[in-house]
């Protein structure tokens, strides 16, 4: 052993040390951070890796939809609803159409109702695909995400076939659908029903019983059923906490009572349960789509409401009455009856409500959107308190907060 001369050094005694000052770190998570999946900021107070408290700043993409809606004819508001939960815009569109139909007292034919159910359930699948596969990405499994995105692409192709658009769909009209399901659309839907299960099973194989995934998600960001109810949770996040509230079952709209499906619930309301509930909901949605496409009733795809439903274009060229209605509807010159409606649908994230007050004019007097993400996101600081930063990111990811819906 070589001779190493240890240099003398003085270890200061405890009293000589400068006093250690403990302080909390402030961490800005967002507004533009890849892990927040949208533009919103969390100002976290951190004690080392642990989150002591958090405060959210939201409103970065607030577009004043409620104000804009007060100047628009009813049919032009559909485009605003697209941009709320843009992962499942058809649900928002249909929810809005149904609200207006409720106000006007229009009964939509069965065929249109079934087509709507198909589109809404496909939208729910795309919504949950994103949430679950991104949760995989946040835990470090990127492959699954890219794999299931192909399937979302196929659903978008179905949207394209049904309404011409992909993301902001503006699908359907007040009174029904704008066109019937084409044979191509039916073929694509049937193909999707066949090709989706193997892909979803593969995603399940990748994550459901994956040790790393389970360790990262079980007991992360839990919320009790009682707190979840107090915080106004709805949808998969509430069901993960063990409350089986589903608008489709409790207040069936658009013929949901005709279909046989189950409402999956979790127990502990943690990230894993939220993942599992969404996963099972995709199977149930697929089941509903299958039932609806197999039992698609014959008949018209729009209601007999000429004052509100645009006449077929060929008629407009040949028929005076159709031309008049066409003009009046497009110019927004049709008065709606006065009334006050609340209508809710089961959106991708929970109860999506439309509170509409009409004073008998051409535009709503007041329209308020009950946006599920806006209401449950306020529980986030409570859910991630005391957890580490990496767990907090998973909690946020599994809540599926969509910035467009959050800020409206």
């Amino acid at each position: 052993m070589a001779d190493i001369e240890l240099l003398p050094h003085n270890v200061p005694s405890q009293s000589e040390l400068p006093e250690l000052v403990e302080e909390l770190t402030t961490l800005n998570l967002g507004p533009t951070h890849p892990a927040t999946h949208g533009i919103f900021q969390n100002i976290l107070k951190m004690d080392g890796e642990k989150i002591v408290s958090g405060e959210q700043t939201i409103g970065y993409i607030h577009r004043a939809f409620e104000k804009i809606a007060e100047r628009r004819p009813f049919y032009q508001i559909t485009t605003l609803t697209d941009r709320m939960n843009y992962c499942s815009s058809p649900i928002n569109n249909m929810g809005w159409h149904m609200t207006v139909e409720k106000l006007l007292g229009i009964e939509v034919p069965k065929r249109a109702q079934y087509i709507r159910v198909i589109m809404m359930e496909l939208a729910r699948i795309t919504d949950h695909i994103i949430c679950n596969s991104i949760l995989g990405v946040d835990t470090g499994a990127f492959t699954g995400f890219l794999y299931v995105m192909q399937k979302r692409e196929e659903v978008y192709e179905i949207y394209e076939e049904v309404c011409g658009a992909r993301l902001t769909t503006n699908m359907g009209r007040v009174g029904g659908m704008e066109r019937d399901l084409s044979s191509t659309a039916i073929r694509k839907i049937n193909e999707f029903i066949k090709s989706f299960p193997p892909v979803l099973r593969e995603l399940e194989k990748l994550l459901n019983r994956n040790r790393i995934f389970m360790d990262r998600t079980i007991n992360v960001g839990p919320i009790s059923a009682e707190r979840a109810l107090s915080y106004g949770f709805t949808g998969p996040n509430l069901r993960a906490a063990g409350v089986d509230y589903d608008v489709r079952v409790m207040n069936p709209y658009s013929s949901y009572q005709d279909f046989d499906f189950e409402v999956p619930i979790g127990q502990s309301g943690d990230t894993f349960d939220r993942y599992m509930v969404r996963n099972e909901e995709m199977w149930q949605s697929l089941k509903i789509v299958e039932q609806a496409i197999n039992n698609l009733p014959e008949g018209p795809y729009y209601a007999d409401a000429p004052e509100f439903y645009l006449p077929p274009k060929q008629e407009v060229y040949k028929n005076m009455e159709a031309l008049i209605y066409h003009f009046k509807i497009v110019m927004g010159e049709i008065d709606a009856p006065a009334g006050e409606v609340y209508h809710a649908v089961e959106g991708g994230n929970g109860e999506l409500g439309f509170y509409l007050i009409s004073d008998g004019g051409r535009a709503p007097y007041r329209l308020h959107f009950r946006r599920p993400s806006f209401i449950y996101y306020q529980a986030y600081p409570e859910m991630c308190k005391g957890s580490s930063l990496s767990d907090a990111i998973l909690t946020m990811s599994s809540l599926n907060v969509i910035a467009g819906e959050l800020d409206a």
Partner: protein
């Protein structure tokens, strides 16, 4: 199955003339109350043994500028999951005295709903733990959903109200 009639009678018995203007637009029981009675009313509905109206669906505001003395209305939507029963409660406020007690003590979800209502209508929820703007920037000095702020650019002459039915 809870009926509107049953709840209306129960509330009339308990609160007397503090609940009024009963209506049923599209089957949803709607009633009005006063700001003094709103918290006891919400608490009574929430803690009622059989009704169990435990879920606060929504809080929002509406403005009726021509209704002098009652320019603003705060609207509460509540839901009982056990009976699948929804109820809507309205409280009218005057612009000169635009205060109402907060419901945050009863429902945690009321926090942001009330902040949003404050942000857009300027309704002051007394006792709210953090009554700040939520969707708009903090520097904003007006409440944009009020009817006195028209959406369109006031200098434009081609967009007259008559064209939009207003």
């Amino acid at each position: 199955m809870l009926t509107n009639q049953e709840v209306a009678e129960g509330l009339l018995e308990k609160f007397g003339d503090q609940v009024f203007d009963f209506e049923e637009p599209y089957g949803l029981l709607t009633l009005s109350s006063t700001r003094e009675e709103i918290l006891p009313l919400l608490e009574y509905l929430r803690d009622h043994k059989t009704w169990q109206v435990i879920f606060l669906t929504d809080i929002t505001g509406v403005q009726y500028p021509d209704n002098k003395g009652q320019e603003f209305v705060v609207v509460y939507h509540l839901h009982s999951f056990v009976h699948n029963f929804r109820i809507r409660i309205k409280v009218a406020l005057s612009e000169a005295d635009i205060h109402i007690p907060t419901a945050t003590g009863l429902f945690a979800s009321a926090n942001w709903m009330e902040r949003e209502t404050f942000d857009f209508f300027g309704i002051l929820f007394d006792g709210h733990p953090n009554l700040r703007r939520i969707l708009n920037i903090e520097e904003m000095d007006y409440h944009p959903m009020r009817k006195e702020y028209p959406l369109e650019d006031a200098t434009r002459e081609d967009k007259i109200d008559a064209l939009f039915g207003r």
